[in-house]
């Protein structure tokens, strides 16, 4: 499914998991369960040895996944097997994309039903070649903006992104926190243009999710909290959390009913 279609039903809940954690074989089924629980978009992380944008939770998941045999070939197999009625988005570091070849990577995404790519260490200025490859394969290339992104640059990023704009809720790395910052509100308010915007980094509770949507976001991204529950094998609690979060954001600005 195209990302733009999904955002027609905003606000959305976007759920990140690390592919291959705990095992590559478990991933397709896990993706299906997340979608079934209410995830509107699945961000499927490709684990990297050196995840500089990630905090301890996702670092550990990546190490487990690599140890369990996850690699780019396996990733695309798993992604293809994870047949869900919601968009699947690639999330991973640029070197993993670069190593495979940009065109090939974008094509593999398309073939596996992945309709968007998030590459956290690739600013728009450096993204020309990958952008071209994504366009060829019909894959959205999603850029990130942060609280410390200046106005002019924010405009450029908003114009460059496709699918949606990923707003980083806070400076620093990924990882669950219990607060939300003034700067997140300001960032949401500062964004020019009309593209959908989703907020991630540090969001772990239904209340935070609701707050973000109330502030004007079109989607909320949860990652570390999900990875953490998977690490503990608490998939049912994860499903429950997704349901609660979905309820919370829809209560703010929704069609009234919880999807699925």
């Amino acid at each position: 499914m195209k990302i733009s279609e999904a955002f027609e039903k905003a606000p959305l809940l976007i759920v990140y998991i690390c592919a291959g954690d705990p095992t590559p074989a478990a991933t397709p089924q896990l993706v299906r369960r997340l979608a079934a629980a209410g995830a509107d978009i699945i961000e499927l992380g490709l684990p990297h040895s050196d995840p500089i944008a990630d905090g301890p939770t996702i670092q550990a998941a990546a190490q487990r996944a690599i140890a369990a045999g996850m690699n780019t070939d396996v990733y695309f197999q798993a992604a293809a097997q994870a047949d869900v009625p919601v968009p699947k988005v690639f999330m991973g570091y640029y070197n993993m994309v670069y190593a495979r070849g940009l065109d090939r990577f974008a094509q593999d995404c398309a073939r596996a039903g992945i309709t968007g790519m998030i590459v956290p260490d690739l600013p728009p200025e450096e993204a020309g070649p990958l952008h071209k490859a994504c366009v060829s394969s019909g894959v959205d290339l999603i850029f990130l903006a942060a609280p410390n992104t200046p106005a002019e640059r924010l405009k450029m990023i908003e114009e460059s992104t496709s699918g949606f704009l990923y707003l980083v809720a806070r400076t620093g790395v990924t990882g669950a926190r219990s607060d939300l910052l003034q700067s997140t509100h300001e960032l949401i308010a500062r964004v020019p243009g009309n593209k959908p915007k989703a907020v991630g980094f540090g969001i772990s509770t239904p209340a935070q999710a609701a707050e973000v949507i109330a502030a004007g976001a079109d989607g909320v991204i949860v990652g570390s909290v999900c990875v953490d529950l998977i690490a503990r094998g608490e998939i049912e609690r994860l499903e429950q959390l997704i349901r609660e979060m979905k309820g919370a954001i829809k209560a703010v600005r929704g069609k009234g009913t919880i999807a699925s």
Partner: protein, 398 residues
């Protein structure tokens, strides 16, 4: 010096270099690049740096005509004596420059990564001297094997933070420092230790280190009335090499020899590379913010490197060196552990200079391939070997 700039965003060296970092770090890096550009034009700043280099760091360092080594190699060999710098290595050229920039930018805290501890020590020195709060990320494995340098940092008031992620060595310490910086950039400067990483680090570190080459150029002209036939330097990330090479890049007749760590051998490329030869044996990839030559598996996972010299134990290399090597301006050479040990002992015995194990790679290479040096050669002795005594004793089971 910069071979190409992609407008104002990030310097590129051919296809290498750039600024591949999370968005949160883009603005701090751009601000750093701006401050750096501005300050390098400020006479006041340049004078402050010059005075600190002279009165605190001990510059100029000598260019020493090593008579005994010359006799052994059958040619005139000069040693650039960075081993005489305060702190024991060329590292302070860079930390002093960056810390003075950080000060002018109003930062109050320094963070840095370190492997062997040399860059950590050089950062702790400027942290103490210029009044910064200083925290040094260091892999748990490295903390264990470099206890004395950990203690030196602590003596100077720096806090050493153990890094427990990944391979728990240098590359992970860099990751961790970048993660810290992503939320601390407001008041913190990230003081990267080599001419690698995202823009503006490769250019900035090269510029601060190129005092080595500028001095060497003046000194060899004074001593010999001509430029050398070759300059040899070891390569970890590339800061001492770029520092001594940079002022000679236009002089095509000067052969520039970059010696990388061959470690235990260059055969393996599984999960662990048994060497540190990213320039010679690596492939294009992105590490720590730059497109450069790196050691990686076919999927793009970074390999762990290895060298008996902790300062060369890094799976990447500065992007400018990658560019210069590809262009053929810099010649890539490899010296393995054994060759380095040979260089270490030879220079100690011949000249009474105990080189750092890193620098010993350059010396060892020269001993093995003297004819590559030409008639008049300069070797960069990037640091002294006191820090390596325990390692060498261990290696030789003494």
């Amino acid at each position: 010096m910069q071979t190409q700039t992609s407008d104002t965003f990030a310097v590129k060296f051919g296809r290498y270099g750039g600024l591949f970092v999370p968005e949160t770090l883009v603005t701090p890096l751009v601000q750093l690049a701006d401050a750096y550009q501005r300050l390098m034009k400020s006479d006041d700043f340049k004078e402050e740096l010059k005075q600190a280099m002279k009165n605190f760091a001990g510059r100029p360092t000598p260019l020493y005509h090593a008579k005994n080594l010359s006799r052994k190699l059958g040619r005139r060999v000069y040693l650039k004596r960075e081993d005489l710098m305060h702190g024991g290595a060329h590292k302070l050229n860079n930390t002093l420059g960056q810390a003075l920039i950080a000060k002018r930018m109003g930062k109050t805290r320094l963070i840095a990564e370190t492997g062997a501890g040399q860059h950590g020590v050089a950062t702790a020195i400027v942290g103490a001297n210029l009044g910064f709060e200083t925290q040094i990320y260091m892999g748990e494995v490295d903390i264990e094997r470099q206890k004395m340098n950990v203690y030196r940092m602590q003596l100077m008031g720096a806090q050493v933070i153990p890094v427990r992620s990944g391979s728990r060595t240098l590359k992970d310490a860099i990751n961790e420092a970048m993660r810290d910086w992503a939320s601390s950039f407001d008041h913190t400067h990230y003081l990267l230790g080599t001419a690698a990483g995202a823009h503006p680090f490769p250019s900035m570190v090269r510029d601060f280190q190129s005092v080595i080459g500028r001095e060497a150029r003046r000194q060899i002209m004074q001593a010999e009335g001509r430029l050398p036939d070759s300059i040899t330097a070891c390569v970890g990330g590339g800061s001492n090499a770029m520092g001594i090479f940079a002022p000679f890049l236009e002089d095509r007749e000067v052969r520039l020899l970059a010696v990388e760590a061959g470690g235990r051998g260059t055969g393996k490329t599984d999960k662990i590379a048994d060497h540190g030869a990213s320039l010679g044996l690596g492939t294009d990839g992105i590490l720590h913010g730059a497109l450069t030559k790196i050691l990686q598996d076919p999927y793009g996972q970074i390999l762990e490197s290895y060298s008996v010299a902790a300062g060369l134990d890094y799976p990447g290399v500065g992007p400018e060196l990658a560019y210069l090597a590809e262009k053929g301006r810099v010649l890539t050479k490899i010296a393995d552990d054994k060759t380095a040990m040979n260089g270490f002992h030879a220079l100690s015995k011949l000249e009474g200079i105990i080189p750092a194990l890193e620098s010993a790679h350059a010396v060892g290479y020269a001993l093995e391939e003297p004819q590559a040096l030409g008639d008049l050669a300069v070797i960069n002795i990037s640091g002294r070997g006191d820090k390596d005594l325990a390692t060498v004793m261990d290696y030789e089971n003494i």
